[in-house]
Each structure stands twice: as C-alpha cells, then as structure tokens.
Amino acid sequence: MSNRVIGQNGPVALTFHTLLTVFILAPLIVVILVSLSDKGYISMPFDGASLRWYREILRAPELLSAFLLSIRLGIASATLASAVAMPAALAIARYRFVGRDGLMAFFMSPMMIPHVVLGIAFLRFFSIMAWTGSFAALVLVHMLIVTPFSLRLTLAAVIGLDRSAEHAARSLGASRFVAFRRTLLPLILPGVAGGWVLAFIQSFDDVTMTIFVATPSTTTLPVALYNRITQSSDPITTSVSTVMIIGAIFFMFSLDRMVGLNNVLIGKRTG
C-alpha cells in the first residue's frame, strides 16, 4: 500500500534497471554463447554452433580430475564445517558466557581476512608441516573458510527456534541429548542443510585462497580454470564454466527449497 505514495517505477527507473540487469547477466550469457561455438578459438556461435567444447571436456583428464577433486573437497569440507558449526551454534545461541562475542568474531574472521593472506598463511603452514600436496590438509583449510557460512545459517535456525518443545520433552522425562535429537534437530535441519549447501558452494567456487595451496595433484576446478585462462585462450574454459553455471543454478533451487534464497543471500559474504 505504501507503494502508492512512494510511487511506481517510472520509465527512467525501468530503463536503468534493465541496463543493470544486462550488465549483471552479460558475462554469464557470453560464456554460455561462446561455449556453443564450433570454432577453435573464442568466438560467438552465430555462424556455426556445436557441442564440440563439451565433448572436449571429456577428453581433458586434468579438468575431469579437477572437477572430481572439487566435488570431494566440497562434500568433505562442508560436512566437517557443519559438524563443528552445530555445537558451536548451540553454544553461542543459548549460553551467555564470558568471551562469547570474541568467540563469534573468531569464527567469523575467515570472512574478514583477505583470502590472499589466508592463502599464503596456509602455504607457509603446509610447507612447515610437510603437508603440501595433501588432500586432507586441503579439506581442513577449506573447512576453515566455509565454517562461517555454515555457522551463520545454523545459528539463524537455532535462534529462531521456540524452546518450549524441548522444554516439554524434558519435563516429560527425556534426557538433554534425547530432547535435542528428537525435538531440536528435526526443526533446525533445514537451516543446517542450507548451511551445508552454502558451504559446499563456497568451497567449490573458491579460487583466491586455493591458488596458493594447490599443487598439480591437488588442483581444484576453479584453479585449473584460472590457469587455463591466464595461460591460453582456449574455448574449453567456457564450456567448463557453463557446466559450473548450470550447477550453481541447480544449487540455487535447492537452497531456495531448504531455507529460502532470501535468507541465504541477504547477509552473505564471500572473498
């Protein structure tokens, strides 16, 4: 109703908005278009389209293994992050204790520290610990940078919860753990799941930090893509990118289903 006073969007506003939307979508559309070209160099598919660059992906073992590595890495780090974020979220949401704010800031800090700085810190750390090239070590540092996302969504789910169901269960004789498992967990599961998906996406997409710790045997897809882009002008980068775009759209829908896209995107940070 207030719109009647504030006003509808006039033609100027709508033109501006349309131009902005074009600005936002242009690079993605270009990537998808170029990936459909049948030429051996970066070009538009307007005079010849084919799926050749998608077939090329199947003939590029380093890209395929990078893709698989990214998936495994994402699943592992998201799961680990969710596992440690859950008890931490409970602690922060429900207890007032000395150092709570500091702890929260500490857990959120990976979002504030430039990923380049994190990257070199981990690179140095790995070299001292002789962990360079270890997949497990990569999982650990990815877990670190995605935990803030999992924590934030899990925290939102826990805070938004009415405790009376739990209290009712306790008064009826359930132990604290049983009450948690039977009354709390089912209700926060969408938030936790949403946190998992967001963490997975962040891990999969990360390039700035991962570039520093990646080795030939532990190269993620974005890093492999980055290397190809900076070293050559190969159209295969566009077909790989299109696959990633499609994957992201798929995840967008599942995130929306789980927690509502608005809750995720408003208040989201990345580096």
């Binding site: 242009a26 070199i120 981990f122 140095r124 650990l140 935990t147 408003i266 208040g267 989201k268």
Partner: protein, 289 residues
C-alpha cells in the same frame, strides 16, 4: 529460565571446543607464522633465513614502488566503492518498488551470481572487454569511438569487472537497511507537506546512510583483497597488492617479502574497517540506538 541459559562456563566452551581447536590450530597458528615469516630475511640462493630482521618492511616502506602499489590498490577500491554506491542505491530502491513476483525474480538474477565462481564471471568479462569483443563492437556501432578501446589490461577494465562482482554486496546492505524502515515515517513526512523528492532526500536517505556505509566498507575491503579479477583482467600491466603478493610467493619465491606485504594489507584493511565502524558508531549511535 533454565540454568543452562545463564553462564555455566564449561558447557558452551565444551560445545565450541571442536571448532575452536580447529580454528586455533589452522587459523591462528598459520597467521602467526606468517607474521613471523615477514620478519625473516630472504637470500636468493639459500632461501628463507631464520632470525629477526626488518629488511622486508624497510624495503617496502622506503620504496616508492610499494607506495604506488598501495595507492593504486586503494584508489581502485575507492573507485569501485563509489560506483557501487551510485549504481547500487538506486537499483535497490527500484527493486523495493516492484511487485513481489518481479522482486523475487530479480533478486535471484542480481544476487544469484554470487553463487558462481568469480573465475567464471571474470572469464565472461575477459571475452566481453577484448578488442574484438561485444563491448567494443557496440561502442563502434554506436559511433561512440572510432577504433576499439583498450579495456583489458587497464585499470578501467578492472574497476568495471570488480563493480560487477561486488555490486550484489552493496545491494544486500542497502536492502537490509531499507527493510528496517517504517513506511509510515515517509507517509508522515508527506502529510506534513514534504513532496516525494523532499521526503526521499530528508527522510529516507538519511535513514539509509548506515546501511550504505556498511555496504561501502564491505565493497572497499573486498576490492582491496580481490585477486582473480585483477590478475585476469589487469594482467601484468595493472599490479595491485594481491597480485604483488602472488608474484613474490609463486614467482620470486621471496616468501618473507610477500608475507610482509600481506601483513601490511591486512593491517590496512583492519584500519579501514575499525576506523569506519568508529565513525559510524559515533555519528549514528544516538539516533539508531
């Protein structure tokens, strides 16, 4: 209230222990090691020299090259921030006035790209901004230029792409602030005699300032910390702090120097964030307590 709602110090710490231990070992320790590394000397032949030394910091602070580097990075970040404010604030207001169905769609369109890796988005821009690319073709077609302009490997190109990448953050910040406004307040202004424009300038905009500022801080720090975009779009011609760090670490192998630059970057960012927060708090505390 149950006992657990009040400071029983052991339980919350036990719950947070897994995360805390991991963060301590994998975040605090490596960061400390990096700080230590920045105080090591480096020898081209023999590598990292143990022992405390200030050579890296001296080298950076006495070399005009590094001042230029930080200045360039800061200016770039500032430019991106200003453009994001100029474009982002109007766009958020336009979004707010849309009908819910359209609003939802455009939210996905504008904020969705955040879920796509920055490499992919930057690749798209690399294609768009090339000399034979669509942008130049359109500019020539519209007779705005005679021959293709150099957008790749230029600061302009980097700023354009960073704006694209970081605009969603500004929109998110302004949108959150907009949601917290009481719509009746603008009605009140209108009923007291303020026209639509006056209402916006005197009533709505001042209330949005904290949100705009917080968005600006986010965009600024993320621009200054950005790597992939300046690396791909700027290349060798446009060097910023992050690509300089990359060079030291992965090309020159002078890790201590790289670490020192990184420490200075981190300090710079902390300074900007803390400083702006102090300013915001002092200015808006009494109003938005």
């Amino acid at each position: 209230m149950t006992r657990s709602d009040f400071g029983q110090n052991s339980v919350p710490w036990l719950l947070s222990m897994p995360a805390f231990a991991l963060f301590l070992g994998l975040l605090a320790v490596p960061m400390a090691l990096t700080a230590v590394l920045s105080f090591n000397a480096f020898d081209g032949m023999r590598g990292i020299q143990p022992g405390f030394s200030l050579t890296n910091y001296v080298a950076i602070l006495s070399d005009g090259y590094y001042y230029e580097l930080f200045l360039r990075t800061g200016t770039m970040a500032f430019g991106v921030t200003i453009i994001c404010i100029i474009i982002g604030v109007p766009e958020t207001l336009i979004l707010a006035r849309m009908r819910p169905a359209w609003q939802g769609t455009f939210f996905v369109v504008i904020l969705g790209p955040l879920l796509i890796s920055v490499v992919v988005r930057t690749l798209g821009w690399q294609i768009l901004l090339s000399r034979e690319g669509p942008v130049n073709s359109i500019l020539i077609r519209l007779h705005l230029v005679d021959h293709p302009i150099q957008l790749l490997f230029s600061m302009a190109g980097v700023i354009i792409v960073l704006t694209h990448v970081l605009l969603p953050f500004m929109i998110i910040a302004v949108w959150s602030a907009l949601q917290r406004l009481d719509t009746q307040v603008s009605h009140a202004a209108r009923s007291l005699g303020a026209g639509a424009l006056t209402t916006f300038g005197r009533i709505t905009l001042p209330q949005l300032m904290p949100g705009i500022l917080s968005g600006a801080i986010i965009v600024f720090t993320l621009s200054a910390s950005a790597f992939a975009t300046p690396a791909i779009i700027g290349g060798r011609r446009v060097k910023v702090v992050t690509t300089a760090i990359y060079d030291e670490f992965l090309n020159s192998m002078n890790w201590p120097l790289g670490a020192a630059i990184a420490v200075l970057l981190l300090l710079g960012i902390v300074f900007v964030v803390v400083g702006s927060n102090q300013l915001t708090e002092r200015k808006f505390k009494q109003v938005f307590a």
